[in-house]
Amino acid sequence: MKPSLILRTATRLLVSMILVFSVYLLLRGHNSPGGGFSGALVAATGFAMYIMAEGTASMRRALRIDPSRMIVFGMILALGSGLFSVIAGNPFLTGIWWTVTTVGDSKIALGTPFFFDIGVFAIVLGAILTLLLALEEDLEKD
């Protein structure tokens, strides 16, 4: 049974926005509500919609990488951002910051917690997608 036309059309419009919003949430997390975890949940909701509308095969093609790889990538990123401070001589996971550029009065800083948050994002999204795809594919086989 094909999903309804309304769902498919709406999905096409919504998913891209949801994904942009998830990245926005991830990036703004340090100063306003958001962050890696909620960003990943938003993205997962978007992907879940896409799976329902277009099926898992289409989802896998669109993803290009296996979601379990995403978990591995996230784990490497999170651990790596923690080990960075070890190399610098601080305890594991100490935040290290660089000032990238100064705009007017405000400095723009970049730090290891940022990468850690991206790791969280990738792991949470990867884990949910792994489960969702496995469940849906299992369902499609029946």
Partner: protein, 753 residues
């Protein structure tokens, strides 16, 4: 992966890996000059500084002595294994385990820190488990491996508690710093407990009675493993431990009596049992038990000559026993049988192996001119110098050695010299890398017999000096003059020859005798396992019965009862709080939530119930938002959404589930009561907590430092990814594991890999 490589490549790589033990042997041998002068080296690395635990290694006479045996035998066994395993699909795995075991064993003898010693000790247990179970397709191998793991692993735990108590008593984890405190330690209240725990560790590892039974069963391992682990290294671990702690714990009456009695019983028991066996490897296993018993018995001694006897006999035993295990492997490999009654006349077809067997067996029998003879002489000398039960010890030693002589005869004369065997396949000599090891190890038994003084100066005395610094050097010599040890040697050889002549009757009698014993240590072990398994089954049926409803009921009920009781006990009236009436939005939200709750309970459709649950969660999220917690609200909302999606997908795959069910009204009432109780409990707790004064120091700290230290204004997120990022790391590991495990479960249900 090695298993995919061509056999010849695998063999070349495996042969090249023998360089590892060889180079380590040479490195250890380079320390011999320092050993002779009694110098030692100690390397210390920080390990867990906060617990005052260092990774320290001590290179002294004793550890180098053991290292030489480990790496020397290890080299020949590696060479041997290449041809022994030739074509086996898991050769790569074998050599990995083998070398890992060897390195763990080296770590064990070099470790000066007791915690490090314990870790290496457990590593040897672990790798020996993997090696004994190498032929893992066989049920017997798996069973034996598990048995060895459980017995020696239990001993390892006893050892851990022992070294912790030792640290409490002495204030140090370093063995080299304990010896000066030995006198105080003997009157310490912990001394008895420490002694018992360390003994359990040593006795399980070195297969002392009544923990001996795992060793004969471990003969399920391939021959080279038995040669390495069960003659030269692993089982000597317990002996090493006793020797290492000899200056710290030794010298008391309880130390001496326990070791002499346990050692003597083990030695006689092992030797008698060996005579009742017919499988070559089983015979060797029981004679190993005998040898270990003798060493334990001698370690009960206080005099320097008994320690010299331990080390000498240890070397003798390592040489001939590893050679004999390798020979048993060659015989099995070339003839297809290990049953002694099927073997005969092998000297003609396998001359080199026969030479090795000849040398090893005569050393084992303790014939004059062989190193074994010197070992035996010095053993008697050591026992005669003892104060603790020398009579018992000497009788046990003479008896055990006599039996050993007979066993040596049985091992050599029958298979190699007499008659013609009946073999499943035509017999040829093994490839040279196989016989070279036994030949050299056996040959050393002759060579050391010719130059005993050299061995004494280079190896034995330095090893003894490391644990007993004071005392005269004991000279090793072939002929000490006509004295008691010589007399005892003559008696031993006479007993041995006599026993050899009546071996057939003896074999049957002993076999029948052990058949008749109603209750053995091995059966006790099986019994314990059965009880554990039965307990687990009963407990699983009650606690883990697979019903989610049951689990949740237990969790909620324990929460209500335990929390309620402890709350009631400390109850001193509610703190004052003011109930603020909700504003319009909040009031509407509460109504929505209440309506959702009613739908969840009343709905006949599962899908509807799930959606209503989602509405409830969303309503709660809105309340969070209304009270100014946007982060919490956002996350809650998203989690609720995803939960509804995932649960719906899962529900779609279930057969149409009737909500009516067959639950009787009584049970529904019980569930309802519990739900109400939980709700009341949570509400009461929350009111009490929020009514009291709250400590805001953490909040203030985060508010002040969030931007300064972590460049972020959103405190919640800064806490998550910076201040408390280690917690988050743990959580994302859980998420990742749950995702992958769930994936595996879903796929496994379909039988896919």
């Amino acid at each position: 992966m090695t298993t995919n490589l061509k056999t010849s490549t695998t063999d070349t790589m495996a042969r090249a890996s023998s360089l590892l033990p060889l180079l380590l042997f040479l490195a250890a041998a380079a320390r011999i000059p320092d050993m002779i002068t009694g110098q030692s080296l100690r390397y210390v690395f920080d390990w867990v500084p906060s617990l005052n635990i260092q990774l320290s290694f001590l290179f002294d006479g004793l550890s180098i002595f053991f290292a030489l045996i480990i790496t020397g035998v290890g080299f020949f066994v590696t060479l041997y294994s290449v041809d022994y395993l030739h074509g086996h699909p898991q050769t790569g795995r074998f050599f990995f385990f083998f070398h890992a075991f060897m390195l763990s064993m080296l770590g064990l003898v070099f470790a000066d820190n007791t915690i490090a010693l314990f870790v290496f000790w457990e590593m040897t247990t672990l790798f020996s488990y993997l090696l004994i179970g190498f032929e893992h397709e066989k049920d017997e191998s798996r069973k034996s491996a598990r048995q060895a793991l459980l017995v020696t692993g239990t001993g390892g735990l006893a050892l851990l508690v022992g070294v912790l108590l030792l640290e409490m008593a002495t204030g140090t984890y370093e063995i080299s710093q304990m010896a000066p405190l030995a006198a105080d330690l003997k009157t310490h209240p912990f001394y008895g407990a420490i002694l018992i725990l360390i003994f359990i560790g040593a006795f399980t590892k070195s297969a002392q009675f009544p923990f001996h039974f795992w060793l004969p069963n471990a003969m399920a391992a391939p021959a080279p493993i038995s040669a390495f682990l069960h003659s030269a290294t692993m089982v000597k671990g317990g002996i090493y431990l006793l020797a290492r702690f000899h200056p710290v714990l030794g010298g008391s009456a309880s130390w001496e009596a326990t070791l002499v009695i346990v050692g003597a019983v083990t030695a006689v028991f092992g030797a008698v049992t060996a005579l009742g066996q017919s499988d070559l490897k089983k015979i060797l296993a029981y004679t190993t038990i005998m040898g270990l018993g003798i060493m334990t018995m001698l370690l009960g001694g206080e005099s320097r000559s008994s320690l010299v006897a331990v080390m000498t006999f240890l070397l003798v035993h390592a040489l001939y026993k590893s050679a004999l295990f390798l020979i048993a492997g060659i015989i099995d490999h070339q003839t297809g049988t290990r049953q002694i009654e099927n073997l005969g006349g092998l000297a003609k077809s396998m001359p080199f192996t026969a030479f090795a067997a000849f040398a090893a067996c005569l050393s084992m029998a303790g014939f004059p001119l062989f190193f074994g003879f010197i070992g035996k002489e010095i053993m008697y000398k050591g026992i005669l110098a003892e104060t603790m039960m020398p009579g018992t010890a000497i009788v046990a030693a003479v008896l055990a050695n006599g039996l050993m002589t007979a066993v040596a005869g049985i091992l050599f004369i029958r298979p190699f010299l007499m008659g013609k065997g009946s073999f499943p396949q035509p017999v040829t000599e093994a490839a040279w890398p196989m016989w070279i090891g036994p030949a050299v190890l056996g040959g050393l038994g002759i060579f050391f017999g010719i130059v005993p003084d050299l061995v004494g100066t280079w190896l034995i005395n330095p090893a003894v000096t490391a644990i007993a610094p004071i005392g005269d050097k004991v000279r090793l010599a072939l002929f000490h003059g006509i004295n008691y040890p010589l007399l005892l040697s003559v008696i031993t050889l006479t007993i041995g020859t006599g026993l050899y002549l009546i071996r057939q009757q003896a074999n049957q009698r002993i076999a029948a005798f052990f058949e008749a014993i109603p209750f053995t240590a091995s059966q006790a072990y099986d019994g314990v396992l059965k009880v554990v398994a039965a307990t687990a089954r009963i407990q699983t049926r009650i606690i883990q019965n697979g019903s989610l409803h049951h689990y949740f009921f237990v969790v909620a009920a324990s929460f209500v009862i335990i929390t309620g009781l402890s709350y009631a006990r400390g109850f001193s009236g509610f703190p004052e709080f003011r109930i603020a009436w909700p504003n319009i939005e909040q009031g509407l939200l509460v109504l929505v939530i209440l309506a959702a709750v009613v739908s969840v309970v009343a709905s006949r459709s599962v899908l509807l119930a799930i959606c209503a649950l989602g509405v409830m969660g969303a309503g709660i999220a809105m309340i969070f938002l209304n009270f100014g917690a946007p982060d919490l609200a956002l996350t809650q909302l998203l989690v609720e959404t995803l939960t509804v999606i995932i649960v719906s997908i899962i529900l779609l795959r279930l057969p149409a589930l009737s909500r009516k069910g067959n639950r009787p009204v009584r049970k529904k009432l019980l569930d309802g009561t519990l739900a109400l109780g939980t709700g009341i409990m949570v509400t009461t707790l929350l009111l009490s907590v929020s009514g009291g004064p709250s400590n805001l120091s953490l909040t203030e700290f985060f508010a002040q430092n969030s931007y300064i230290a972590a460049h972020g204004r959103n405190i919640v997120n800064v806490i998550l990814v910076d201040f408390r990022s280690f917690d988050t790391l743990g959580e994302i590991i859980v998420v990742a594991t749950a995702g992958l495990a769930g994936f595996a479960l879903i796929r496994k249900r379909r039988g896919e890999s």
